[in-house]
Amino acid sequence: MVGIVLVSHGSMAEGMMDAARMIVGSMESVVSVSLKESDAAEDLMARIETALLEVDQGDGVLILVDAFGASPFNASARVAMQRKNVEVITGMNLPMLLELAVQREGQDLGAVTQTALQAGTTSIRTLSQTLKGNSAAG
């Protein structure tokens, strides 16, 4: 199974796991890493490396980060670029994590990444858009 590492500013990653557990229960091979204000990039990279080792079962790891270009992304990218079978996806959100929690078994890293991308982007919508869609269909 592809491992999942969540990396964020502050406690967002931890909070994301906490929220996901309320919906799907405990998750296998998912860990979180937080950036603290006093962290050097290298400290964060070292913690990401440790997290990768923890969740990697040989099928690769997908790293979910909060924002493109920010320190959690930069550190994750620097780790991923030096390894094989590690992908990074930005803009982590709860639907993305939930989909990964229930839909990873038997999928390779490429497929898991597509699942995350799809779930993460299609889950962003407005109420009015949703209601309009419903009335058109009805």
Binding site: A40, G69, N74
Partner: protein
């Protein structure tokens, strides 16, 4: 003036730069300058990849950064210089860059450094570099965000780390 801001930040281009500083200034060119980073192809690739849509990113050695900023081409741009450590700032000044102000951003703990605040740890050599710049009349500030006051930070360094600042 082409160089609008000079910041020493270990994290280089990251969230605070892309979001807060980029929206506060009309940055057209971010120059990341540090000799180690400029010699690391992986970091150069990544830094260029995270460029904001409105600014270009260059990664240059200290020497090349000074040469570029003193060239006629630089006159037409708003340049934001990002380096890692106070020593980089001093090297820029000693190389011939005219800078009225040097801002300290994130300075994470490294071996031998001492804490000034949660976001600023300085080594003895870093403090000595700041002292030299202070003595040249460069105003040392410490602003994580553009909204932080640009008050003189040297007295804080002197007070917190007196043995190194004397």
């Amino acid at each position: 003036m082409p160089v609008i801001h000079v910041r020493m930040d270990n994290r280089l281009i990251h969230g605070q730069i892309l979001v807060s500083w980029n929206s506060a200034f009309k940055i057209q060119h971010i120059i990341v300058t540090n000799d180690v980073v400029a010699g690391d192809p992986l970091q150069v690739t990544l830094l260029k990849a995270v460029a904001p849509l409105t600014a270009k990113v260059s990664v240059l050695s200290i020497k090349d950064c000074v040469a570029y900023c003193n060239s006629p081409e630089a006159e037409k741009e708003n340049i934001f210089i990002l380096a890692k450590y106070p020593e980089d700032g001093l090297a820029l000044v000693e190389g011939g860059l005219n800078m009225p102000q040097l801002n300290l951003g994130n300075q994470a703990f490294v071996r031998g450094s001492k804490k000034i605040s949660d976001t600023v740890f300085l080594t003895e050599s870093g403090v000595k570099a700041l002292k030299k710049m202070h003595e040249r009349g460069i105003r040392i500030t410490c602003r994580m965000m553009p909204s932080d006051p640009d008050s003189d930070y040297w007295p804080t360094v002197q007070k917190t780390l007196p043995d190194w600042a004397q």
